[in-house]
Symmetry: C2
Subunit: 348 residues, 2 copies
Amino acid sequence: MNASHKPQSKSTIYDIAREVRASPSTVSAALGDNWKKRRISEDTVERIRAVAARQGYTPNLQARGLRHARSGLVALILPHHDNKYFSSLSESFAREARNRGLCPVIVATHRDPAEESATVRDLLSYAIDQLFIVAAHDPDAISQICHDAQLRHVFIDHPSRHAPSVITDNREGARGLSNLILASMPLPPGTGLAGVYFLGGDADQFATGDRIEGFREAMRQSSQPWDENQIIPSTYDPGKTRESLVTLHATLGGLPSGLLVNSITCFEGVLDFLGGLPEDEINRCVFGCYDYDPLAALLRFPVHMVRQRHRALIQTAYELLDTPEPAKLTVIAPEFYPARLRSSSLGT
Amino acid sequence: MNASHKPQSKSTIYDIAREVRASPSTVSAALGDNWKKRRISEDTVERIRAVAARQGYTPNLQARGLRHARSGLVALILPHHDNKYFSSLSESFAREARNRGLCPVIVATHRDPAEESATVRDLLSYAIDQLFIVAAHDPDAISQICHDAQLRHVFIDHPSRHAPSVITDNREGARGLSNLILASMPLPPGTGLAGVYFLGGDADQFATGDRIEGFREAMRQSSQPWDENQIIPSTYDPGKTRESLVTLHATLGGLPSGLLVNSITCFEGVLDFLGGLPEDEINRCVFGCYDYDPLAALLRFPVHMVRQRHRALIQTAYELLDTPEPAKLTVIAPEFYPARLRSSSLGT
DNA sequence: TTGACTTGCACAATCGATGGTGCTTACATA
DNA sequence: TATGTAAGCACCATCGATTGTGCAAGTCAA
């Protein structure tokens, strides 16, 4: 790159046109790939391209977007960035966007419904081409906005009846996770301190609802005594989750025999509390975490995990947008990561 | 929102103008906040705003951006999304952007220099207003591009001589972390299996260079014997890091007495290998990780950590852009998270 | 009644890229 | 020479919002 030219703000097709003594439309055509149809001579095309390269020309995508009513932007709306599951979704989303020559815009809305719909409107204003919404609060409202603006969109985690959606099979995920917990509880049924508990998440939220359902099924099928009070959806906040666990611990006089923690975020709160407990007490409880984190696989105590296939979710979402099938719901099975049990790594 | 109107693509000031029987320029002024200067009557303003609200009008930001040569977009370029440190930066970056009424665009370039500069050009084409670059490969080249386009930008983690930059005090961070490791090594100096090792990261990269320097200082000041071969920057890839550790383990016939793992990403690779080792062997090695992850605080073995203050880094970066001081370098001290030692949580 | 202002708005140009519609040449054919 | 036809390009409107400027109607004082 010859970087020693004048610091003119940014070169346009008009600058190039002036230098080559051609019209802006000719320049535009020459830089695109339809110059044959416009019968621009190959010679002219090459002169124009040379000058464009020398000037370091890049098209003004706002102008192009204005003309085409498109922008080349695809957006992903999700609750948070700093969460392993969501950031994995981001990573996959961005990779695929760039494969398709699109520019990914990822916005976190902090589980705030107002921020969520404001963001949708904002993104609409930028004329984004496609919208992916993860764990929407009110999918139908968003669908309405998008339909009015004729914006192609797809939901992940929380489906909409009015648009294509992809979700993990949360019910099966939670059921399988619950069964993993039940299967590795050291004490015979009924002997445990206080059964298995479901902790964390937002009961109003779609995914959590399904997971609770899966938990219920597993509990019903097990020989464990249980009741609805063992379900404690304390929100997704680590602090709140910690408090719930503190309360539970005080009430029971110890940890329950099993604990299914809904989301890695809540799990952080749980860990924080566990840090203050004696090792042997922790070891009497079997843990499960909905969502996967590689670090969790080597904690001081075994943790069963479920991993949502972020890659598959994103791929499927893109494909649903490619083929204009309306309002189709795709369900993707999660993967299970049973804990390496303590005994197996004590080796010999 | 009255959602039952015709699905016209998107309302513009022209649509509003037609309905209110006013000119587009009047509508534009009325919707902005300079209608007083343009002497639009308050009555007219209110009529226009009412209609705008009813039509669900949102401004076309591409058109506005085209006119203003600005877009309202601020961009953050970083290596990856799915890394606790980077995603925390994202989170802080996005929050502050929205506080300022800007739309955050976050792009991962996977530590690929070509993708990095291509992305910068891409973003330039979208007329972004400000650019934040994390862990740039070639900051000076990026600065050049940005200067030519008169784009305000700031570097994080890897400074540029030609633009404002914010970094963590990596040398001190690594020195302190090394000292934490040295201080908690159970065996007297020289008795350990093979001293303390530095593993992971990219030696060509600025942050890693500084961290290695800090490691060297700590080692020199300690009574531990050591040499340069104890520094093994294997890249940031978990797989590669694992391989390096496998080799080291084979060469030494066991783990070293101390291991400073450079980045949480590499730490994943280390964990994967450790998972197959007997517990007592792991316990003979003291671990440190550059970067913090809440989960790492409760692993089966103690891990000292250093946390970069992502919030402060981002805040400072924004402030550096606010006040046009050129090429100022700000250094921010990291926080130390010494491991809760094993004994302390065995409690009584 | 007339000039001097003010009020309240409309007109038109502009940002950069694009694509439809011409308008010149050159060359060929009758 | 007149006519046809292609090649090679220029001109102009357009996307939607913004802003400098102009212009009519109303108000006021002399």
